[in-house]
Symmetry: C2
Subunit: 257 residues, 2 copies
DNA sequence: TCAAAAGTGTTCTAACTACACCCATGG
DNA sequence: CCATGGGTGTAGTTAGAACACTTTTGA
């Protein structure tokens, strides 16, 4: 007799196709309403939020696994993605996948053991354009939503630690690489870009110095258009000069923030 | 009948105690004769060099695995160690552990399959004091030696890529963290420290500017002693002020190189 | 006494900081 | 017509680059 699959997944297949003990977790950053947001999932089985994650196929790289997970959760391909750490505490395991919690939720499986095993997880962080994301929960989750970075409370397992490390890594990266292209819409104003930087860095920057510094990198182009409909002088719109932007990604920037 | 163990390892035990598919590889840097060195192993089974590596125990973190490997290869505990990347190309596998190569070398085992499986490897880099290391080959290797970073030719599998990535990561780290404490003996002269920086960065630095910049961090103490026995003015000896050094590790430095 | 390499100081420039003034826009 | 916030400019400060002279040492 065929196995019950109340949550829409063939776990026997999963087990046969994925590496044991290894998963990926993604910290997906977006920027909206002058706030840094992160994509989170709420478990079907326990009352906790977690990062989007998944298993690694037997013939996949971890990057491919993360890309696949992100495609599923956001609908986006071609995502800016960076591996930043592997979390390997032997005690880390997903309580949302623990036999007792899944049974409590009425899930029937024969191979709880595989899901309940020890997992080491490779942390990735992704930068995406908020408005392009269509958040989709996975089979273990009831919802998938953006949360403001400051509103995030406790997360499942060590996911809070993973989130913090991702933030720290992104802040460091900001020192020597331009980011923003992946987080902002095609056109944006200088104050918007500044807000993004301030949000990531967690401190205010001088408006004029910021503008001068950013422009000195020569990675963005001012457009003749302006942002209209504001009760003050209309700011110019800019967009990244992709060629120079990518060159700067390779060469690195010089400044400190 | 008990299994033949011509290379001194019980592989059944290894398999039962280690995670499948996962290994660690360490890029161990040392500094000697004004040269950056890296610790390499020469395989018993094929004519290739590789990085020190090992498997991950079922209840170990990857950090613990790397620490264990380094203890075995160098004799040192308390090593400065940094995880920097996970290498997960599904095609990567160790030719020195491939059945045909081990059989050719006369090794008799029943579970070649385990050794020949796909491995994902977590890359670590370590900074050690050259003179304190007592290089010890592992069971798969005939020798363990220091090689000048510029003399390293081809390495086994993707180890060359791992080495390059380690170097790149260390150079980046040099931008915002002091290193040197782990690579130099307790007392050293300013020109020696400068040579180390020049070697890591791969370019020459101005003697006077270097001294001023390093001293401005206030992480080292000038000793009343000088290095004698040189046919020129005797340079002062310095040592790191551990308290301030560690604080700087946490806070980060400001300068660019 | 000389070559080699260390100690120390100055000048110039570029980058960052901290401000001030004017301008456009919607309410 | 005014509050809000954007566009631009300038002076002061600090960090880095380039460079010169003096000192100590063993051979």
């Amino acid at each position: 007799m065929s196995k019950t699959k109340p949550i829409g997944v063939n776990f026997e297949e999963l087990e046969s196709q994925c590496l044991p003990h290894l998963s990926v977790d993604c910290v997906v950053f977006g920027f909206h309403d002058n706030q840094l947001k992160v994509l989170l999932l709420k478990s079907k089985f326990i009352d906790e939020w977690s990062l989007p994650g998944g298993f690694v196929g037997k013939t996949e790289t971890v990057e491919e696994a993360a890309t696949r997970v992100l495609k599923e959760r956001t609908g986006l391909g071609e995502i800016f993605l960076n591996q930043f750490h592997i979390f390997s505490d032997p005690k880390r395991s997903n309580p949302g996948l623990k036999p007792e919690n899944m049974k409590k939720a009425g899930v029937k499986l024969t191979n709880y053991e595989w899901l309940g095993q020890r997992f080491l997880s490779v942390g990735f962080y992704a930068l995406v354009e908020f408005s392009k994301v269509d958040p989709q929960p996975d089979v273990f989750s009831q919802t998938c939503e953006w949360k403001g970075i400051d509103e995030v409370e406790t997360l499942m397992m060590d996911h809070r630690q993973i989130l913090d490390k991702a933030l720290e890594t992104m802040r460091l990266q900001l020192r020597y690489q331009p980011i923003g292209y992946n987080l902002l819409p095609e056109k944006y104003t200088m104050p918007e870009l500044q807000k993004l930087y301030e949000t990531i860095l967690g401190r205010e920057l001088d408006r004029r110095n910021f503008q001068r510094k950013i422009l000195s990198y020569k990675i963005l182009k001012r457009l003749p258009e302006r942002r209209l409909g504001v009760a003050h002088k209309a700011p110019y719109l800019y967009r990244f000069d992709l060629e120079k932007y990518n060159q700067a990604l390779l060469d690195g920037l010089s400044g400190d923030w």
